[in-house]
Symmetry: C2
């Protein structure tokens, strides 16, 4: 699809029509920092990738001056939406009463194929609920999943882990689908040609863990050749940030607790580090000298650099950014969204899941061996 | 019980009989570092607490010179046991064929009430299996649990978390029993008079999580007054190292993965910190200046200082030390074991669980309101 006018691109008056794969639908509201930070993030992302176009959702009167200030009017369409989903709103309430919200409107642009992907800093539960209702699950997918990038000692600097909380349950075939979706994500999002997949368990030995994990292991192994990945076996919690594996598969209950435990441990250590350096005048001087080194560390494990949980298994890709996201975070989430969108990620996942489900005619669409 | 000769104390020729609550049964074998490190750890612990007595299990010919070298012969009885449980041995194999091992012998001393508590650096699965077979579960306990101390920003510096892997399943009444056992541990091990208990979940809201967690929440709440603790509600992974809670209750699958994820994150950050400081000559100089501060941090989060997973819910207390434990770790595990033993911990847990199970005659033994 080219950039010719008249294609199903952005419909605004002040923005050119575009190939939807370069169009990001952005929920401007719902983040803790307000829309000004979101728009600032768009400006940063557009500097890196000039082909980007935005559809921005929220109260037009509030957004227009922000867009003008950042000189984004030429590449941004504003879709007026007065309602805002708050962090306290229950997903079930938003599903019933959320039609006028910026979140709903942002998902709708992906549904209408005006944009390739949606980015929101809003309430995760509500975003998943609206995404489920408006985008629907991919054919053959039982449970969608949320995948995150986890700082690691792998060459690419991050591992993929899923599910981190879309659903608190997952049976053996859900886990197998998570493996396929995670492999596609690692390939298209991180550029890993043949990802290594591990199944999270309480030990690496064959006999360890829950019964469904042993069945899942067989199902995943059976897909490895066809879907072009290596299954490395059971992995333990300590291996999540390791170079033993690229994709860590688990149910959303365990994954959510592991994710938050990892984040909690990291911030506990940061704060203990600050205390240690504040202890004496000499240690404060040392801290000053160590400033650059500590900054280098901070960059490496900064969650803002990888600030994008991705919803997988839907007819359209949705990137969830942290609620407390600043402009750097928003720009990172937009960058990830754009990479996934321009690689045709949703279609690849769909083809892969369909192929695993035995829909032979979908196999030729699968992403086996293709480069991102 | 006093220290008078003739009581059911240590039976060796070269050690005085003692009140079993000051006698620690130690498996000298099975740790990665060998028995010399274990004996060195005993010497350190005995320096701190001169009332300590040891029963040391392993090949006598190997242990006697080590004990003599550390001048521990006067307070140590050696029980000859030629067999050693390796890290690779399956628990089921050890249960059938492990009668001649130092691990089996060490548990037997607690069973015979010669010692108040057993300490081993060996294979966790085998240690739990032998403990179950030889000590048996406390009346009313369905599933024993392993509890760990987690570095935290609480006043006492650590929170208690259980189960971290004794069993991969736990239903609502198991979780309630874990809460009671964890409260006793926090009171007798950490000196917290009225511990705050939280139930690990994927969110803090009432409607979040698995069905059994909602039932467990009601069961735990119903015990709070009687057992003298505060139930703070659901807690998330990020709160494990926080000051929001003293005792974190979860099933052994989730708890094991959270524990290993926390440990993995901490060592990932340590290694990233080392890399950051190695980067340039200036950063190496800064690292030198920051040495004391970093050491202060290391001490605070050093797993060796809290090196004791404790098996709860058995007729006798067993402390599992890391397989890679050095002398400092072993001394820490001995110190914890001694504190629990001298506080009458096993009896208190037994009374508390019995009381919750409705055995009214056990209630007067319960540890409600008592000081550690």
């Amino acid at each position: 699809m080219g950039d010719e006018p008249g294609s199903s691109g952005v419909g605004g008056d002040n923005a050119p029509s575009s190939d939807p794969k370069h169009v990001i639908s952005v929920d401007a509201m719902g983040g803790d920092q307000g829309p000004a930070v979101v728009v600032k993030g768009l400006a940063r992302a557009a500097q890196v990738s000039p082909e980007l176009r935005f559809i921005l959702h929220g109260p037009e009167a509030e957004l227009a001056p922000l867009v003008a200030k950042r000189k984004l009017a030429g590449i941004t369409t504003i879709r007026d939406a007065q309602g805002v989903v708050s962090m306290e709103d229950k997903p079930s309430y938003v599903m019933r009463h959320g039609k006028n919200t910026s979140m709903w409107s942002a998902i709708n642009s992906v549904r209408a194929r005006d944009a390739g992907v949606c980015v929101s800093c809003g309430n995760t539960g509500a975003l998943m609920a609206v995404s489920m209702v408006r985008l629907r699950k991919l054919p053959g997918v039982n449970r969608p999943a949320i995948a995150v990038l986890w700082p690691s000692s792998s060459k690419q600097g991050f591992n993929v882990m899923l599910d981190v909380g879309a659903d608190i349950r997952a049976d053996e075939s859900d886990l197998m689908q998570y493996a396929l979706m995670g492999v596609s994500y690692a390939r298209n999002g991180l550029g890993i040609k043949r990802p290594r997949v591990g199944l999270l368990n309480v030990g690496t030995e064959e006999h360890k863990g829950r019964a469904e994990l042993k069945v899942a292991q067989d199902l995943i192994t059976a897909q490895a050749n066809e879907a072009n990945f290596d299954y490395v076996g059971f992995v333990e919690g300590g291996q999540i940030p390791s170079n033993d594996v690229d994709v860590i598969v688990t149910d959303g209950f365990t994954g959510n607790i592991a994710l938050k435990t990892g984040e909690g441990t990291a911030s506990f250590i940061s704060s203990a580090l600050r205390d240690a350096f504040r202890h004496t005048p000499l240690s404060r001087l040392a801290a000053l000298m160590a400033y650059t080194s500590l900054n280098r560390l901070k960059k490496r494990i900064d969650p803002r650099r990888v600030n994008g949980g991705v919803f997988l298994g839907l007819n359209g890709t949705v990137v969830k950014s942290h609620g407390s996201a600043d402009a750097t975070s928003v720009a990172a989430a937009i960058g990830l969204a754009h990479q996934l969108s321009s690689s045709g990620f949703t279609e690849r996942v769909a083809a892969r899941v369909a192929a695993a489900g035995g829909f032979a005619d979908a196999e030729d669409l699968a992403d086996k061996g293709s480069t991102p």
